[in-house]
């Protein structure tokens, strides 16, 4: 078992004092970020990424940096549940389904058991996903080592077509927002020929739009503006967790093992294909309601209704790192930001990572086990503290968050222009959210734009402009075919429903 050996080595890397400390710092920061409106996994990581630039320079520094940032991600996943259950405000989009049963439980005075159930099932979901990553990613990476440019482009194509086919938003809005992302990525110097594109003579656009600034604006400022519409008041239930409630809930939880198992499967699957944590949590809630013996009581405060979405969301959020590490294709916006971080640190995400950067990969995977254990301990013991953050009035929190976002976008390139861009992206994010233009494909396209274009052009160079290269062998043909099927899926299902309605 090579994987076990590699993993053991990873634990040696991750268990250094410095990395353990960073893990706890990351988790605590992550939970705070997850609890605060306007700060979430994606833009929290984006804001803190510039702080790791110097850290990543030292030997072994990239591993420490990824441990810090990925732990912020786990923390944010945990934190989303706190606001959903206590305040009925989903701190993160993937916690929306948690509010359905979590908030009623809190109103009945059972906030403690709801929180315990949410955290524990988050942990279970993440654990399943990490185990899958441990054993599946070396296989996928080895397989992907054989990939050439056409194969890589078809993977990108599959990723982006999956967004059109599987998102809840109208397909043409998804397409528009995704292609806008590609267009923004194309601004600046052409990576192949060095020609300036779409800069219109301004120096400011020489380096293009930075995805970090876009993420901070779209998710951070946009979210603040949306939250403000609802006014400045937050009202929440009290959070008290003591050991007895935790143990009582843990006694109850094994009853829902089937729900957990199903939710983990849905979550891991949705995380690997770029569906992401949000649809996974909804899907898992729906599946649990259909299969549960108490299905009709869902929505009135069932612990099982908290277990299902939380397990799936955490499983999906975690397994989104699998395609990021092995193929260089992130499964979620936060994974996309982490991928951008790897590129900035000078690492090439993709199958070669498993050959050339063993310490990094296995250190990260080991830290995922440890980070989630640390996360569970931190959230179970510190919930009242984190809930207290939400009691800070919004008129104090909002300006501080805007200042943090401004500092975050400034530090990316030390330029004020980026702070202005953040404001523009903020207004865009606000409008897009309200008109259901999805943000995830936009962000993924900005991050992956250059790489997708490069692999497309390399493939075209090899084939001398012949598009059939994307069907030239079984593997690439299957992926391209699947991508096209997903792309036209909305059309097919629309035609089908029309046909059924008229028949």
């Amino acid at each position: 078992m090579d994987e076990i050996q590699a993993l053991a080595h990873g634990f040696v890397v991750a268990l250094s004092l410095k990395n353990l400390a960073l893990m706890f710092v990351g988790i605590v920061l992550g939970v705070i970020i997850g609890v605060l409106p306007g700060l979430g996994g994606a833009n929290g990581v984006a804001i803190l990424l510039p702080l790791t630039f110097s850290m990543a320079q030292s030997p072994g520094g990239t591993t420490s940096a990824i441990i810090l940032l990925s732990c912020i991600y786990w923390g944010a996943l945990f934190g989303g549940a706190i606001t959903s259950i206590l305040f009925n405000i989903p701190g993160e989009p993937w916690s929306v389904a948690t509010t359905f049963d979590g908030y009623p439980l809190a109103q009945q005075g059972r906030a403690g058991s709801a929180l315990t159930a949410a955290f524990t099932s988050s942990f279970v979901g993440a654990l399943v996903a990490v185990i899958v990553i441990t054993f599946l990613s070396p296989v996928v990476a080895k397989f992907a080592l054989e990939f050439g440019p056409p194969e890589f482009f078809s993977v990108y194509l599959l990723t982006f077509c999956a967004f059109v086919g599987m998102s809840k938003e109208p397909p043409f809005k998804t397409l528009a927002s995704m292609m806008l992302g590609f267009a923004l990525a194309a601004v600046g110097t052409d990576p192949v020929t060095g020609t300036l594109r779409l800069t219109f003579g301004t120096e400011k656009l020489l380096n293009g739009f930075d995805f970090l600034v876009a993420v901070i604006g779209l998710f951070g400022i946009g979210e603040i503006l949306l939250t403000l519409e609802e006014g400045l008041e937050f009202k929440g239930a009290n959070a008290k967790i003591n050991m007895r409630v935790v143990l009582d809930t843990w006694k109850e939880l094994p009853r829902y093992w089937m729900t957990s198992l199903r939710a983990s499967a849905v979550g891991v699957f949705m995380g690997i294909v770029p569906g992401g944590a949000t649809p996974a949590s909804f899907m898992s809630y729906g599946v649990a309601r259909r299969f549960s013996a108490n299905g009709e009581k869902f929505g009135t405060g069932q612990v099982e209704g908290v277990v299902a979405p939380e397990t799936a969301a955490h499983a999906a959020g975690t397994s989104a790192l699998l395609p990021m590490l092995t193929l260089g294709v992130p499964g979620s916006p936060t994974a996309a930001v982490l991928l951008g971080g790897l590129l900035i640190w000078g690492l090439q995400p993709g199958p070669l990572l498993f050959v050339e950067q063993k310490d990094f990969v296995w250190g990260l995977i080991a830290s995922m086990y440890l980070g989630n254990i640390a996360g569970l301990i931190v959230v179970l013991t510190c919930v009242p503290l984190f809930a207290a953050i939400l009691r800070i009035p919004f008129s104090v929190i909002a300006p501080v968050i805007i200042v943090i976002c401004a500092i975050g976008s400034y530090t990316v390139h030390n330029s004020i222009f980026d702070v202005w861009m953040m404001m523009v992206f903020g207004v865009a994010g606000y409008a897009f959210k309200k008109l259901s233009y999805p943000l995830a494909p936009l962000v993924l396209a900005i991050v992956l734009g250059d790489r997708a274009e490069a692999s497309f052009r390399q493939a075209m160079l090899v084939s001398q402009g012949d598009l059939t290269v994307f069907f030239s062998n079984g593997l690439v043909g299957t992926m391209t075919g699947l991508a096209l099927a997903l792309l036209f899926w909305p059309l097919v299902s629309w035609a089908f429903s029309r046909f059924r309605a008229s028949a």
Binding site: F172, M179, L180, A183, A186, L226, E229, I402, W420, L435
Partner: protein, 168 residues
């Protein structure tokens, strides 16, 4: 995001849909235009610089035309409110000061501007006592100064005030 009771509509859903789709169309048009200028065809040594962006721009245009038509003839948005007057006031109450704040950074550096911004916000929207306003705004920025300048060694823009204090 439903507007509160009694809130007059500021923008309808339909006009917002049309406006955003039109902006998309404009951006797509710009991309197509510039790609053609660069050359979006096949050169002897491979695709030209505008080859890939040209099709991207084209797809933006196609998608936004569909969205535009949808918004124009669609009936489901009729009478729906995109944003109410009270809500819009709230949003602008953040957006306008935040823009002034970003403009201020150039003159005063990020620390002084942030203190003023947080203080203004707390006093104006939160109606806090002055001592609380001062403590939170100055305290936050001192913490940020320590984190960024001392701990992570990331220099942030500074202005005359920091120079006066000998920190610049």
């Amino acid at each position: 995001m439903s507007p509160q009771q009694g809130d007059r509509p500021a923008f309808g859903q339909k006009s917002a849909e049309i406006a955003v789709a039109a902006v998309f169309l404009l951006l797509g048009g710009i991309v197509v235009f510039d790609s053609i200028r660069l050359g979006a065809r096949w050169d002897e040594d491979g695709p030209q610089a505008g080859y890939f962006p040209f099709y991207i721009g084209l797809l933006v245009c196609i998608a936004s035309v569909v969205n535009l038509i949808h918004a124009w003839i669609g009936k489901k948005d009729a009478g729906r409110v995109f944003v109410g007057v009270t809500q819009l006031k709230m949003v602008l109450a953040v957006l306008v000061p935040a823009s002034i704040y970003v403009a201020l950074i150039v003159w005063t550096g990020i620390y002084a501007a942030s203190v003023v911004f947080i203080a203004f916000f707390m006093r104006w929207l939160g109606k806090y006592a002055w001592w609380k306003v001062g403590a939170v705004s100055v305290g936050t920025m001192v913490v940020f100064f320590l984190i960024f300048e001392s701990w992570f060694k990331v220099p942030l823009p500074k202005g005359p005030l920091e120079n006066l204090l000998g920190l610049g």
